[in-house]
């Protein structure tokens, strides 16, 4: 029997995959577009490049569990568009990009995800998470499994001032509430994935 039921990939594109934070994003004024079978919050009304901190729902990022691929603990490797994050000595979580191997297990919907970015991102995360994210202790590409808002989670330092948070799909509404609550007093607001794409494109150019 097939394990295809684990994957959020619908036959013939009849079904649109949805993030567990879709309604939160909608209520916050998100505009949606369907991308690769996912309904994605691409932008928010009045969004600007100037920001203290912003959070973007990136739950649509595909994730795979791969065996026999450990790596240096605490460090995520960048392979193409994907982050390869070592969970144990012989198991890694691959985030984003294309299916890494036919034996990889699709765990996309095990983890909802938020990108938190901006100069106040670290301060925002410090409101609900005890991980040490000081730049000298958690430079870009750091990978940190640990408690996020009292729930199991994982964190990837994608770049200076940009963090990818992963947490249980079922806790997403709670997590959005916590992040929005922490970020708002610091001038934060939600961002669409166009913002993330723009920043990533700039980084690629710089690199």
């Amino acid at each position: 029997m097939s394990l295809a039921f684990l994957s959020p990939v619908a036959a013939d594109d009849v079904a649109i995959a949805r993030s567990p934070m879709e309604r939160m994003a909608k209520a916050a004024g998100a505009e949606f577009e369907v991308r690769d079978g996912w309904n994605v919050a691409v932008r928010y009304a009045g969004e600007t490049a100037e920001r203290t901190v912003a959070w973007a729902d990136v739950s649509h990022l595909r994730k795979w569990e791969v065996e026999g691929q450990g790596g240096e603990f605490g460090v995520a490797r960048r392979e193409g568009d994907a982050w390869v994050c070592p969970l144990t000595s012989d198991r890694a979580l691959v985030i984003g990009g294309a299916e890494p191997s036919p034996t990889a297990l699709d765990v996309t919907c095990n983890y909802a995800a938020l990108t938190i970015l901006g100069p106040q991102a670290r301060e925002t995360i410090a409101r609900f998470c005890a991980l040490d994210l000081r730049p000298q202790h958690a430079p870009p590409h750091s990978f940190r499994p640990g408690s996020i808002a009292r729930q199991p989670g994982m964190l990837v330092v994608e770049a200076e001032d940009r963090f990818l948070l992963l947490f249980g799909w079922a806790t997403a509404e709670y997590m959005w509430t916590v992040v929005a609550d922490a970020a708002t007093p610091l001038g934060g607001r939600p961002a669409g994935i166009e913002t993330i794409e723009t920043i990533e494109a700039t980084e690629d150019t710089d690199a």
Partner: protein, 941 residues
């Protein structure tokens, strides 16, 4: 009134006037004033009434250490007025005095009641008759308590935050030593945080948190309270430059308004340009007290007299003499007198040695140290200010929590640090370096070491020990009450009495008299009470020892500790649909779940008559893969899974090694090496941990992945279920092609799904599992396809009814921590003929032989009465012998059914048991086979 012309270094902005109210009356203050300085400047001398005797209390420490100026601000009690900055429009109110601060009827407890209220008086009174105690207690309760809180408040109104901060070095205390330590550590390249209770100057390269108090030391984690924020600072090295706390003297009337610590008097003068008085008597054990006298003199305060408990003069003495002020050596204060505030102070001579104060007519505190009476005439001086300094006790609380030990230093007259744990450093006055230069150097050294530098730096000089103070005395009590503890109104005499009664260890005396247990946390009274204990018992102070320094270091609002109020909740991917359908949503473990959609009975009937759809995404879902996956499950379950054919499903119960039921669920074999295991909703996390624990130990070729949150699941059940599902999939859903306990992979409404045909609710049913991102899509498609067939969504409550009809046990509801598969009527699940060992085998072999005391069975009731779940099965004598675990009215059977634990001999069809339910006894008929479709014909059809 008391405001002086501008003083050098004052912290007030005279251009900026703020207004606030005290007990409803307007008060003016300058920007930079504290509530305390503004009120004092406006002429207020009484700031509070004491806890027990309702005596007037005025400013004493002006440093937030003592209980004397505790007020309520905007309804929040416990605010230390002397350190709380004035804000425009704030509403300040006194505590603990009725009808007002100036006229307090409870003052009577002091004037007439004192002899009736020695320490622990309540233990000795109101014993008989016992029935009157509640009345007395009511009076006591209303007399106690300082602040008044609102009777009702619907929700939290104060937004408080947590902030985690990791640092290389945390420096607590922003005085000379602390700042030096922070600078030095930063210079070494360390990431440094500096915190101080007061204002703190910016230090380059250091995060400096002002008006921030370190509350405790928790294995390297220091919570720091700063306004609305609780910083949680985790650092591998700490420097404590927490300074020293000036100690009061114990003498008669030592609590009168106008008696002030030298530091407090100077703070009023220097920071806020407020004159603490016009005519002062100064009594000190040390130079700092004398220096304060000179400063007050220079600021225009008349110095009526200065008493120094020490025998010989120092530089500070001479500095006073050059101002024309005589210093009485070997003198102390015997009493302060006055009504609303101090008006007179009486000085007397001191006997050397242990420094007991002596008056003309008594021997004070005759203890083991041989203090005796000596000549020394008492002299009285009129004054409105008594400035006292009983020496400076190192503020070692946080260091003690960090594991430092203290020892009593006879020469200095207080406890000093004796031993520091690794990576904990002390600097400045807390480490005995009071001299500014020595303090700075000790700070530099500590900062360097904390940052990983060497203590043997070439530039490092041995640090001089600061000059010492003589031990301050403890006075007797002929002139009136000598308070050892201001928070709790405990006098020196009270402590002496407690010792006489046998409470002769410091901890026992503390608990009996409540000394050190008040808001000052012992900062003002611990040393004095230890001295009294030593004096009375003839022990050394070292032997008496200190009481434990308990967090928080200062009292802290609960809201600041609590942070934001959010509680994690799990929600299914279909949750919003349930909301939209008006579901009644409740907690189920840590999930939010739909209990029903308004009519549980009709929802249950719909499953029998047409079709029902329930969201079961909360089920635990584990993927178990690997060449040894089958053997692994064989070891974990009492029944077999290695012989399960791919595409088939089997029910399993997990038991512990004690043979007790842990959880249950279905296991589906997907292929040779892959199993899909479901667990109960509440047990999902525990089962995953259980599996991975044994796997960690057995190290088999098995990999576990938890898909509990990643997969949505719905159960479609009812006579129309086959038709509804068939409309959405190419799969042959016929009874022949898709049998009971078959598992199929298929596309449903375009979404790849795993479909399990199981008997979840007793009708033909399909449990459909698929990626959570498609939750709403699949739900909607099934509801749409089912509409013409009369499909209804159903919640947990109708599911309870349906499952009960089939006598499916609900682990945790029908079973408890002592249930075994045998007592819970599932002997068939245990395969003792398995060759290999499995978890629970040995216990289950035992339970297979032994008749349990009680068994789980079904029951029916005739008269429509539904017993409360939890009602008790009683034996012939009326004693508890079991319990009802489930009971419902079954609409399809039109009768009441249930499950219960009953005595084993009664666990047979046709037996009758008595149920006791809130005073009512009803009789129930036992049934051991399912109430609905006992042969499973419907299920398999």
């Amino acid at each position: 009134m008391s405001r002086l012309p501008p003083q050098p270094g004052e912290r007030i902005d005279r251009q900026s006037v703020l207004r606030f109210t005290f007990d409803g009356k307007p008060v003016e203050a300058f920007e930079g004033d504290t509530i305390g300085s503004a009120l004092f400047a406006a002429g207020r001398r009484t700031f509070s009434r004491s806890f027990k005797y309702h005596r007037r209390r005025g400013l004493l420490c002006c440093a937030g250490q003592c209980p004397n100026c505790i007020v309520a601000v905007d309804g929040a009690p416990g605010v230390r007025a002397c350190v709380e900055p004035v804000k425009e429009g704030m509403r300040v109110e006194h505590l603990n005095a009725q009808p007002g601060l100036e006229l307090d009827v409870m003052r009577a407890t002091d004037l007439v009641g004192t002899r009736f209220t020695p320490p622990g008086f309540y233990y000795k009174t109101f014993i008989r008759p016992r029935r009157l105690w509640p009345l007395y207690e009511k009076v006591l309760r209303h007399a106690a308590g300082l602040g008044v809180l609102r009777k009702e408040q619907a929700d939290r109104e104060w937004r408080t935050e947590y902030r985690r901060r990791h640092a290389d070095v945390l420096v607590v205390g922003g005085g000379i030593a602390g700042v030096a330590a922070a600078k030095q550590a930063a210079a070494q390249g360390a990431d440094v945080v500096l915190v101080d209770e007061g204002q703190v100057e910016p230090v380059p390269g250091v995060e400096a948190l002002g008006r921030a108090t370190a509350l405790g030391y928790f294995d390297g984690m220091v919570p720091v309270w700063q306004g609305d924020t609780l910083h949680q600072i985790r650092a591998p090295a700490h420097v404590f430059a927490t300074g020293a706390i000036e100690q009061p003297l114990v003498f008669a009337g030592n609590d009168l308004p106008g008696v002030m610590l030298s530091g407090g008097a100077l703070r009023l003068l220097e920071r806020y340009a407020v004159s603490p008085g016009t005519r002062a008597v100064v009594v000190s054990t040390n130079d700092r007290g004398l220096e304060a006298a000179a400063r007050l003199h220079d600021a225009g305060v008349t110095i009526a007299a200065v008493a120094d408990l020490r025998a010989s003069a120092t530089e500070a003495t001479r500095a006073l003499q050059t101002r024309g002020i005589a210093v009485l050596q070997n003198h102390t204060i015997v009493a302060a007198e006055g009504g609303k505030q101090v008006t007179r102070a009486t000085l007397g001579g001191v006997e050397g040695g242990n420094g007991a104060a002596v008056g003309g007519n008594r021997a004070a505190g005759a203890g083991g140290n041989g203090a005796g009476a000596a000549a020394g005439a008492e002299v009285s001086f009129e004054c409105d200010l008594v400035v006292v300094s009983g020496g400076f006790a190192p503020a070692t609380s946080l260091l003690s929590q960090a594991g430092a030990r203290t020892a009593y230093d006879e020469a200095r007259g207080h406890f000093v640090l004796a031993d520091l744990p690794p990576n904990v450093f002390a600097a400045g006055e807390v480490a005995g370096h009071a001299d500014p230069d020595a303090a700075a150097r000790s700070g530099e050294r500590a900062g360097r070491q904390a940052a990983g530098g060497s203590p043997e730096d070439a530039a490092d000089q041995p640090i001089e020990q600061a000059p010492t103070a003589v031990p301050p005395p403890v006075a007797g009590q002929t002139h009136g009450k000598c308070f050892a503890c201001l928070c709790e109104d405990v006098t020196a005499k009270d402590i002496k009495l407690s010792i006489d009664e046998g409470y002769d260890s410091i901890e026992l005396s503390k608990r009996y008299t409540t000394v050190t247990m008040g808001p000052c946390q012992g900062r003002m009274c611990q040393l004095a009470s230890i001295r009294l204990m030593a004096q009375e018992t003839g022990q050394s102070l070292q032997t008496v020892g200190t009481t434990t320094a308990r967090p928080p270091y200062i009292s802290v609002p609960m809201g600041a500790l609590a942070g934001r109020p959010f509680q994690p909740a799990k929600r299914s991917a279909i949750h919003d649909r349930h909301r939209e359908l008006g579901a009644n949503i409740k907690w189920a473990g840590d999930w939010r779940r739909a209990y029903d959609y308004g009519d549980p009975q009709q929802e249950a009937l719909a499953v029998h008559e047409a079709a029902g759809l329930i969201d079961v995404s909360t089920l635990g879902k584990l993927l178990v893969r690997g060449s040894e996956a089958g053997e692994f499950l064989d070891r974990l379950y009492p029944n077999r899974f290695s012989d399960l054919k791919p595409g088939r499903i089997r029910y399993g119960v997990i038991s512990s090694d004690a043979g007790r039921i842990v959880d249950d669920g279905t296991i589906c074999r997907i292929d040779e090496d892959t199993y899909y295991v479901t667990t109960t909703s509440s047990g999902a996390g525990a089962v995953e941990e259980w599996f991975s624990w044994w796997l960690a130990d057995w190290q088999m070729d098995v990999r576990l992945t938890d898909f509990t949150q990643g997969l949505a699941a719905v159960n479609l059940a009812g006579p129309k279920a086959r038709e509804i599902l068939g409309a959405l999939t190419d799969l042959d859903c016929s009874a022949e092609a898709f049998k009971y306990l078959d598992a199929k992979h298929a596309t449903v409404a375009g979404v790849p799904c795993l479909i399990l045909r199981i008997g979840f609710v007793g009708e033909v049913g399909y449990e459909i599992h698929f990626a959570a991102a498609h939750g709403e899509h699949v739900w909607d498609a099934l509801m749409q396809a089912g509409r013409e067939h009369g499909i209804r969504p159903f919640g947990l409550e109708p599911q309870r009814i349906l499952r009960l009809q089939k006598m499916h046990i609900l682990v945790g509801q029908d079973t408890d921590s002592e249930s075994t598969p045998f007592s819970a009527a599932m002997p068939w699940i245990v395969k003792l003929d398995k060759d290999a060992d499995f978890i629970g085998r040995w216990a289950l072999e035992h339970y297979a032989q032994e008749e349990p005391a009680a068994r789980l069975v079904g029951f029916t009731l005739g008269d429509g009465y539904v017993p409360t779940e939890g009602a008790v099965i009683i034996d012939a004598l009326g004693a508890p012998a079991g319990q009802v675990t489930s009971a419902r009215f079954s609409p399809v059977l039109d009768r009441v059914i249930g499950m219960a634990w009953v005595p084993a001999p009664l666990a047979r069809d046709g037996a009758t048991v008595a149920i006791s339910d809130q005073g009512r006894t009803v009789s129930a008929h036992i049934q051991t086979r399912p109430f609905y479709d006992p042969e499973g014909e419907v299920l398999r059809s």
